[in-house]
Symmetry: C2
Subunit: 336 residues, 2 copies
Amino acid sequence: MPATIYDVAKKAGVGIGTVSRAINDSPQIALKTKNKIMRAIKELNYQPHTVAQSLARKKTNTIACIIPFFTGYFFVELLRAIQRKITEYKYDLILYSVDIAHKKETFLQRTIEERRVDGVLLVSLEITKDYADKFTHSQLPIVLVDSNFTNLDSISVDNIEGAYLATKHLVDIGYKNIAMIDGQLKSYPAKLRLEGYKKALREHNIYFDENYFVACDFANESDGFNKQAGYTAMKQFLQMGDNMPRAIFVSSDIQAIGAMEAIKEVNLRIPKDIAIIGFDDIELAQYVGLTTMRQPIMEMGELAVERLMNKIYNQPNDEFKQQFHTTIVVRASCGG
Amino acid sequence: MPATIYDVAKKAGVGIGTVSRAINDSPQIALKTKNKIMRAIKELNYQPHTVAQSLARKKTNTIACIIPFFTGYFFVELLRAIQRKITEYKYDLILYSVDIAHKKETFLQRTIEERRVDGVLLVSLEITKDYADKFTHSQLPIVLVDSNFTNLDSISVDNIEGAYLATKHLVDIGYKNIAMIDGQLKSYPAKLRLEGYKKALREHNIYFDENYFVACDFANESDGFNKQAGYTAMKQFLQMGDNMPRAIFVSSDIQAIGAMEAIKEVNLRIPKDIAIIGFDDIELAQYVGLTTMRQPIMEMGELAVERLMNKIYNQPNDEFKQQFHTTIVVRASCGG
DNA sequence: TTGAAAGCGCTAACAG
DNA sequence: CTGTTAGCGCTTTCAA
């Protein structure tokens, strides 16, 4: 059995309260007694029991990260950034990975009920008003990453601007018939990217043609941001024959890759026959030569942790919304 | 303030012990009282406090997973499998991601000291004798995944066999001058793969030529299983001019991809000029047409969790070693 | 500065 | 079957 605070107290000939002060660097302790206690701790190889501390302090030094496992590289990179930053704060990370939609709710519910964590990071997942309220009610700090909701702190990328720039890039190269493949429109980023796309068209006096737009609403369970969805969407365009679009802004790289496969299947060439621009800059993008919009993933992850820690320690009551900018990464898929 | 067990007891007009029995599905309780209590719980929206439960039960329902973030797809896939399985057991997962070598030790130490977790999964990371002893001493269940150590449970892939088969594949196609690019030899899988490579050579009466072998020992900090290391290693071969090997077994896909880049830089063609076979079957492999050895990642992750749970609940004292087989995935990089 | 004692919220042994 | 009570191992008043 590992030593407890009582063992240390006895060995050092002091009360447990004093031992507690010693290990918590309380100023209310004489250096001499502290040293004596430290020696006893060494000898007994004592380590405070984290769970007991959590209970007494009402603080777990743990945060939860709820994150979908669809996203591949984006997710890995973000998690890495979060993990690194959190370690600096001496916090632990409980990972809840969502692969089925309803699990999200389960996990959200659990984080607020079980009081196992001091805060939560919700990544790339939409939150309902219901849960948003629950969080504000329960006082459990939460920050959304790559997502957004009224009154909740959020770190995201300027999706409108990103989509706008992507579309504009296609325009600048000389395309007129620019289509878009989007994620499911119930996804917030998907909505915003559509907006950016429309904005770019409008600005260049290009008529928004419904036939040139497909949201991957057929992808059940998921948010449509996956390869299969992109492939299927592209098939639709391909069936338009001569009227098929010659340039496409695809709302995520992984969809774009699916679309590219569909294009290759019918022996059309990229960018010669069809130009493609993606969004995310996942690792695969460089291997398939996909021009895309890069998100500053590291920065987003780190800022998210910093904000969450700030909320945990200082309970600020302002609202924190930060948008990062995307930058275009030009590769081969658009020619130009 | 959330309701406590006392609130429930008072409201239901019973003792807290009875409430505890009710929420823990004890058989020692009358259905009638249980119903009464359940009603009170509903009304008060009571949820047991996990941390308090952990302290009283001496059980946290949490495991730690210590895993390197180098590995890309392998890691994501494995984590996904682990996460899914663990949820079935109603356990939570604390993620410790190692990006700097010394962190591994820190995390290992913490898991045994802090008593925050009921068990640990150590993935793709070597453990020292020192720590192996600490674990057996502390009674904290641990299982190694994609790693191995005397007396510790482990789930891995048959690296020798995999490397053997990869090399043999090259032989079968008709190559004689087969080189190998390995990870750092201090890495256990790296050692085994070298062994498999040598075995295949021996069996086919091919002399092991030291000039045809490079372990990525120059990759400081990491284990050499990364793109840059593969690139650098390939450069060495390329400098051999006409004596350069025409077929290479690369110990990991990510290194193989680095090597392929080096090859393309000097305008040599794969597989025409140089054939490459990798190991892992990461997602990128299919995009670059890399022939490689696939590991059954899902199965490994699930089995690891099952074994760990078994250890937590039944403290078996047998030693568990399981090796999975690799299968070859033929793509374009070897011709043939 | 320090010790004693009262929690933190729950489980589990014990007595009835 | 159920209530009472003694922990689980620590933090934090409150006096001294």
